[in-house]
């Protein structure tokens, strides 16, 4: 829009160059508003009614302007300033809106990018977990122990090795029922266990051999195995396997059976303890009379012994295995809290204390 400025005597009307307003197609040959924008300046009479040019202006422009006079409403200087300010504000506002839109678009892009990155990380983690699950499968642990050599019959290499280890550990030590060690030993350690319990296995193959070597073989400690169902899921299986150990104990071979069971222990909950397995284990037990053992398995007093052990464990608040009672032989036994199942130190301290008492 052209700007107009007035003073008292004459009015100076100026047109800016084309560009700020859209160019208008020419009218009447070369006479057009577009032409009037070509920087033309002219002075008008103060009355404003007769547009008389009083300054040097190209003739052809004046002709056009005379014929197509533009009525410009009188405006004050202040109004003109306000018009300029409003236009600036609009420009500023438009710039800010454009900037805000750009920021919003960029923020949206950034958020989408982050979502994609996080989604990728989720996919990687899911794949990794699936791989771990497949790799570990049902645990990757030992399955059913092989007791019989499949090729040539007889004991498997695994059983032979276990038997050798057990014989080396407890051969020559007095056994009586479920007790390992001299009946005259001054200290008694009662060991509540479940033959399928992997933590009992950890103790039996961890701290116990050192205790046997240091205290049992020297006649200072007797270890009494007692029964508490924890790891075995089926009560019938628990009763059967524990009864079988007690039945071997009736021939004073109970600790061979117990030690062999732990040494050859299979994967928990894999159902490896079957009749065939128990028979195979009994066959591997050094010096066990299988016929007598088979008949002793049905001895009801052995099952009653298991029930008694469970009751005593409950009375002592035992909920897990292995759990222990320790004290002077023939005296009251107290609960023993171990600090490690593989390091015998805490057991040694307790035994030494009882021996000194």
């Amino acid at each position: 829009m052209p700007s107009a400025r007035w003073n008292d005597d004459v009015s100076l009307f100026s047109m800016p160059l084309a560009g700020l307003e859209p160019a208008t197609p020419g009218l009447e040959g070369r006479c057009s508003i577009q032409l009037s924008y070509r920087g033309a300046s002219f002075i008008l009479a103060p009355d404003g009614d007769e547009r008389r040019p009083v300054a040097a202006v190209p003739r052809r422009y004046l002709t056009c302007l005379d014929r197509k006079s533009v009525k410009v409403p009188p405006v004050s200087n202040l109004e003109s300033d306000e018009g300029d300010l409003t236009r600036k504000q609009r420009r500023e506002q438009a710039r800010e809106e454009r900037k805000a839109a750009e920021q919003a678009a960029a923020a949206g892009d950034a958020r989408r990018k982050r979502m994609t990155q996080l989604g990728g990380a989720v996919a990687v983690v899911v794949v990794a977990i699936v791989v771990i699950l497949v790799a570990t499968g049902s645990g990757g642990g030992k399955k059913t122990p092989t007791l019989v050599n499949e090729k040539g019959g007889g004991q498997s290499t695994e059983v032979k090795k276990a038997v050798a280890e057990v014989k080396q550990e407890i051969d020559g030590i007095p056994q009586s029922g479920n007790v390992l060690g001299s009946p005259a030993a001054p200290v008694t350690l009662q060991y509540f266990g479940d033959l399928e319990c992997p933590i009992c296995r950890e103790f039996t193959t961890g701290a116990l051999p050192a205790l046997i070597q240091k205290w049992v073989k020297t006649g200072k400690l007797r270890v009494e195995y007692r029964n508490l169902e924890t790891a075995t899921r089926e009560p019938e299986v628990f009763t059967t396997q524990q009864t079988d150990a007690l039945a071997a104990g009736k021939q004073n071979k109970g600790w061979y059976f117990i030690e062999l069971f732990y040494h050859l222990q299979g994967e928990e909950d894999s159902g490896y303890v079957t009749e065939k397995y128990l028979q195979g284990l009994a066959s591997a037990t050094p010096g066990l009379n299988l016929a007598k053992w088979s008949s002793d398995r049905s001895d009801q007093t052995l099952q009653a012994k298991i029930a008694t052990d469970t009751q005593e464990a409950n009375n002592n608040g035992f909920t897990g295995t292995p759990s222990f009672l320790i004290g002077k032989s023939g005296g009251a036994l107290k609960k023993f809290e171990y600090s490690s199942l593989t390091d015998p130190s805490s057991f040694n301290e307790a035994i030494e204390k009882l021996l000194k008492a």
Partner: protein
């Protein structure tokens, strides 16, 4: 929640995780019974089970390394890449913790209080770190000029 609060909360949680994993790693290598409910039997069973190691490495040690890495990314400058590293690591920790919880419940049928505590920690941390990463550095999303050398783009404590 301001960026500062969010970051400090995550730091506190990861320090708790480091303490927890340090204890479990210690009892693993010291062969001692963990102090937890029911005489420590259930925790011991879980800690000594076949699932307590992965490829021969104790999972307690893996947890300790993981928590330390998370803490490291939280103490790093407040930048997009570190926020992503925190989120990715907590995501990995959460996934691994989910796997261990599955093993506890369905394979061992025992629950270890320490493992559950770690699982809860990682779940909360995953939520917070994902939120922190996804919302980005809002105050400097587009037009913030690059930080001067040695200056954090969004210093700890600046309002979000």
């Amino acid at each position: 929640m301001s960026r500062r609060t969010l970051r400090i909360t995550l730091i506190v949680l990861s320090v708790l995780g480091v303490a927890l994993a340090t204890y479990l790693t210690y009892i693993h290598y010291a062969n001692i019974k963990p102090l937890c409910g029911r005489g420590g039997g259930t925790c011991l069973k879980v800690q000594t089970s076949q699932y307590s190691k992965l490829a021969g490495v104790p999972v307690a040690l893996m947890g300790l390394i993981g928590y330390i890495l998370i803490l490291g990314t939280l103490l790093a400058p407040e930048e997009e890449r570190w926020r992503f590293a925190t989120a990715a690591l907590t995501l990995g920790g959460f996934g691994f913790s989910a796997y261990l919880t599955y093993r506890e419940v369905f394979s061992l049928e025992e629950i270890c209080e320490y493992c559950v505590s770690s699982a809860v920690l990682l779940t909360v941390m995953l939520g917070l770190s994902s939120w922190r990463f996804l919302r980005g550095d809002e105050s400097s999303a587009v037009s913030t000029p690059p930080a001067a050398p040695g200056e954090h783009a969004a210093p700890l404590g600046s309002p979000s």
